[in-house]
């Protein structure tokens, strides 16, 4: 693997070097695919979003402002492409939030050792609340974007977020 940094590769992409785009793709497409897959069950839609993401990287590499991680920038493009694609599809069933698996008893014990209670608290959230926490905190989406991703109104995102916060606070303080 070449030792070029993501930034070097992105600069080369901005200059029209498609081998650099290929290198970026090889580095970032796998995790992006998996991560988007956890937010949308339709593999074709995920692959389309990944494709659109790297096309946007190709065309917009010169516009990258140079702050932060290239990986985070790519994620920001990827998740928004996925949301756009979900929005074009129109109203739909909310995603089954079954992507996460409940931890085994052994893991629950280990969690307490590794993370304190936070991990356990997160895992004990209902799938709907967890999805909202994931979208707004981890994925760094706005309430509106989170609503589009999850197929629920923005107001519901807000109320679920409030419920999740209340539940977590209660568990962590008790």
């Amino acid at each position: 693997m070449s030792a070029d940094s993501d930034r070097d590769l992105l600069a080369a992409v901005a200059a029209g070097d498609r081998r650099a785009l290929r290198a970026l793709y090889d580095r970032h497409a796998p995790w992006l695919t998996l991560r988007l897959q956890r937010r949308c069950g339709d593999p074709d839609r995920v692959d389309d979003a990944v494709q659109d993401t790297f096309l946007a990287v190709w065309r917009g590499a010169a516009r990258w402002d140079g702050t932060g991680e290239v990986g985070a920038w790519i994620w920001g493009i990827g998740i928004r492409r996925l949301i756009d694609s979900l929005r074009r599809q129109g109203p739909r069933e909310p995603l089954p939030a079954s992507s996460a698996v409940a931890p085994s008893a052994e893991e629950a014990v280990l969690e307490g050792v590794e993370y304190g209670d936070l991990a356990g608290t997160l895992n004990r959230l209902s799938p709907e609340l967890r999805a909202v926490v994931q979208a707004t905190i981890l994925d760094d989406l706005t309430t509106k974007e989170a609503g589009r991703l999850l197929g629920i109104p923005a107001g519901t995102v807000k109320t679920r977020m409030l419920r999740a916060r209340a539940q977590m606070r209660e568990e962590l303080l008790s």
Binding site: P30, W31, S99, V101, E111
Partner: protein, 272 residues
């Protein structure tokens, strides 16, 4: 980052079997950590990734349709035809804009200067499609013409296709301009037959001289004829009377006959 993720976590994450809290850490860690990204890359279906890359690779190269091509596609023109038309110099937005400007000037002149102004408008309107046809297709506008001649699509077919498109586009603009002319009901049509006559006559002549020269000759003939008719008839609009219209119709028929009879000349080079 100095601390990396356990491979077992990555495997379970890739299979979608890792619990939510750990998935959070994995997702927060991956975008910035090259070794862990490399580790997880091996866990994603390589065929799937390479199919997506192929699509990206092709999308990078695929020509992006311009406004004219998108318009034609929306009007139901098949993709390859729309593409061939969109590459016509005289169908570019800039060309059509220039045509519109000329017509607007003509309409304004007709409004101000009465019959003489109207004559100027009627003189110019048929020349616009002719100019468009002159630069529609051929060795002088297509640098790859020699390759194009050896292609099965056929030079004449492409030329006619583009001619029709150019004539339709420019006459539509001319019709819009003519509709703004006040008080001359019959003038709305007085340039239509000359347009057709000049274009077809030029195509017919192009069988022996090439399109650019043919258009120049026809344009010059047209201007001289209109001015001469004015002198003889003592009326600026003499050329657009029934005799003039008939002459244009005959020119159109003669041009069409020439094109059909000598269509072979378009399909090979006449000179070394």
């Amino acid at each position: 980052m100095s601390v990396h993720l356990e491979h077992e976590w990555l495997e379970r994450y890739a299979r979608g079997e890792l619990d939510q809290a750990r998935s959070f850490s994995v997702e927060a860690h991956l975008p910035a950590c090259e070794p862990c990204r490399a580790a997880i890359a091996g866990l994603v279906d390589a065929g799937r990734l390479s199919r997506t890359w192929d699509a990206i690779d092709l999308a990078i190269d695929a020509p992006v349709p311009g406004p004219v091509e998108r318009l034609l596609r929306r009007a139901g023109v098949p993709e390859p035809t729309a593409r061939l038309l969109a590459l016509t110099p005289s169908l570019r937005p800039s060309w059509l804009l220039a045509v519109a400007v000329v017509l607007a000037f003509g309409a304004v002149a007709a409004d101000w200067r009465g019959e003489t102004g109207l004559m100027a408008f009627l003189l110019v309107a048929p020349l616009l499609p002719l100019a468009g046809v002159a630069v529609a297709y051929g060795p002088h506008v297509d640098p790859a013409h020699e390759v194009a001649v050896a292609a099965p699509a056929g030079t004449l077919r492409v030329l006619l296709l583009r001619t029709v498109a150019v004539v339709v586009a420019t006459t539509t603009l001319a019709a819009v301009a003519a509709a703004t002319l006040p008080g001359f009901e019959w003038t709305a049509a007085a340039w239509l037959v000359p347009s057709l006559g000049l274009t077809l006559a030029a195509l017919g002549l192009a069988t022996s001289t090439g399109a650019a020269a043919a258009c120049a000759v026809v344009a010059a003939t047209w201007v001289c004829a209109v001015l001469a008719a004015w002198r003889v008839g003592d009326d600026p609009l003499t050329a657009f009377g029934s005799f003039g219209q008939l002459a244009c119709l005959l020119a159109a028929l003669a041009g069409a006959a020439l094109v059909i009879a000598r269509r072979d000349t378009f399909e090979t080079r006449s000179q070394a």
